[in-house]
Amino acid sequence: MVDRHIIHLNITDFAVAVERICDPTLKKSPLIVAPEHTPRGLVYDMSEEAYQDGVRKGMGLAMARRCCRRAHVVSPRISLYRKAMKTLVKQVNYYTPLVEQGEEDGHLFMDVTGTHRLFGPPPDIAWKLRKQMKKETGLDPVWSLAATKLVAKVASRVVRPYGEYIVGVGEEHAFLAPLPLTLLPGLKPVEMKIMAEFNLRSIGDLARLSREQLQVPFQKRSSYLYEASRGRDVTPVLSGEDVSPSCMQEHAFAEDTQDRKEINYTLMTLVHDMGRSLRQKKMLSKRLVLVLSYSDGRSVSRQALQKNGTDDDFMLRTLALTALERAWKRRIRIRSLVLVCDRFVPRSPQQTLFVVDSARKIQQRKIMAAMDSIYDRFGEAGIRLGGE
């Protein structure tokens, strides 16, 4: 068995760090990143000082302001954070193609196993990367090195907001044992509650229990808890190509709404953008997922499936409306819609041999092709799919 060397780079409070690079005057006071001009906007990210004052991610902005009155508030700029992540990934790719990134959150895992002949020992790679990132982007990541992603992530949590941690191969269990359970990734609140009831405080407490003992209160999750508490994690570092591909379209309402017409219209817009994107990729999607975020910060996701896959706006619209019906069960205003299509299959260029499409289907396909060309020429305001 080859010992793996996984580096975890974590830029603490990523959105805050990026905003502070763009505007250094923001360093002078605590910073909250949240939509400023929407009522009951939720905190997207906050600086360490704001965190110390009690501000948390997902908290209502009004409440956050009360917790930290001296904080400065800026609206999130997701595209900017995405761009910053791309820059970081580019730097990291010099050392290894095996780079796994989070969603604009400043987390990067890189597998540098077997690269020592080219770049030297793994701690040297991590140190150089941190130095390079600091020099070229101003971002100062925490770095950790371990044999598994799980242990590397815990090690970063131990040292953040500044520092580094190397966990030697074979030291995983000893390293984790004294740490509080809150540092173990992937624990659900209900599991934390059960652990507290059993007086399990540290990861070592959890590791002392056998699989059978864990089976009783945690059932299906017992296997994960057993392995994780011992620092065992065989999940590979998944680079961009390895991660299951998906397409995403999102919309945040300027004002939270319960207006079905407005919601349907927005959904149709997202559906059309999604269909167009699939057609450009020459892919059919077998699953559509809709994520609804409510005013109170809670969100719900529901899916609708199409067995053979589709890139057809009309079919996608049916799937989206089905998912909406399944998801929208609360009488609370909606803040945002996110549409995700995945489980792709390539669209075959060949005509079907025996099953002939109906005249209506052929007509719909022609309409979509015409719409795509109008869209390409005149932009998104050029043409839209009509609603009911």
């Binding site: 002949r117 030297g120 191969v169």
Partner: protein, 263 residues
């Protein structure tokens, strides 16, 4: 110090947990990292801890490590980079953390190695800083490795002698501003030698794999022994020598060769 006898000299390498040393043949095939220190200690009585430069030393990690080595095995620990190369944080807090982290090693500590960067020149502020650093480590055996030639002056050696701090003797490529190879003993209890290899092109490349890619020949080591090691051994109680040319397991190979020559 007596001049007619040669003191014992312990030979080792800078770091021991390199996976390429398995490929290079020093460790048996399929050796895993947790087994390396135990295997290393069968060949050498001392090791220089490199990883303490990359990260702040932690007592629990040191405790876990030393149980894999014999009781009489010695360690030299590099001072963390946040106290030498990247002084961005409060150095007093950092030195306190370092001292705390090193506690489990105290009985087996050969020396703390303060490796200073080439940019650390002989200036008033740097002299003050180094003086504070040495004061705060006064109860540990300390060795200082300069990388800039401006420190090669009698007043520096006299100060080190007065503080009983070891001046590190280096074998490195001969370059204009690099601190030269000097067999001056400033601490009669310990001399400290580091062999970096003589790869001039590699040294300038900024790539560690090229910088330390060098293998000393028997003739080079014999000459070094006669020219420098013997004089050093007549001036101190004990000496430690480390090979830093770790690439392709050249360091343990050269360390074994020097052990034979010294014997």
């Amino acid at each position: 110090m007596t001049t007619d006898r040669l003191c014992p000299v312990l030979v080792g390498t800078s770091g021991y947990s390199y996976t390429e040393w398995v490929d290079g043949g020093f460790y048996p095939q399929k050796t895993r990292m947790p087994e390396m220190l135990e295997l290393y200690a069968r060949s050498f009585p001392v090791v220089e801890l490199n990883y303490t430069w990359y990260q702040m030393v932690r007592a629990e990690a040191i405790s876990r490590m030393i149980i894999n080595a014999p009781d009489d095995f010695l360690f030299a620990a590099k001072l963390t980079r946040t106290l030498t190369h990247e002084r961005e944080r409060d150095w007093k807090q950092e030195i306190a953390r370092y001292r705390e982290g090193l506690k489990p090693l105290q009985k087996q500590l050969a020396a703390i190695l303060i490796q200073l960067p080439p940019t650390f020149t002989w200036s008033v502020s740097n002299r003050y800083y180094l003086s504070w650093l040495l004061d705060s480590l006064h109860d540990f055996p300390v060795a200082v490795e300069y990388r800039h030639i401006s420190w090669a002056r009698d007043s520096v050696f006299a100060e080190l002698e007065q503080r009983q701090v070891t001046l590190v003797t280096v074998d490195a490529p001969s370059m204009p501003k690099l601190f030269p190879c000097l067999d001056i003993v400033t601490n009669p209890e310990l001399f400290f030698v580091r062999f970096h290899g003589r790869n001039i092109q590699g040294w300038q490349s900024g790539n560690m794999q090229k910088k330390f890619d060098y293998s000393y020949s028997r003739e080079e080591l014999q000459e070094w022994n006669e020219k420098h090691l013997r004089p050093l051994r007549t001036q101190a109680e004990k000496g430690i020598v480390f090979f830093n040319n770790h690439v392709r397991a050249q360091a343990p190979e050269n360390a074994k060769l020097l052990q034979q020559i010294v014997a």
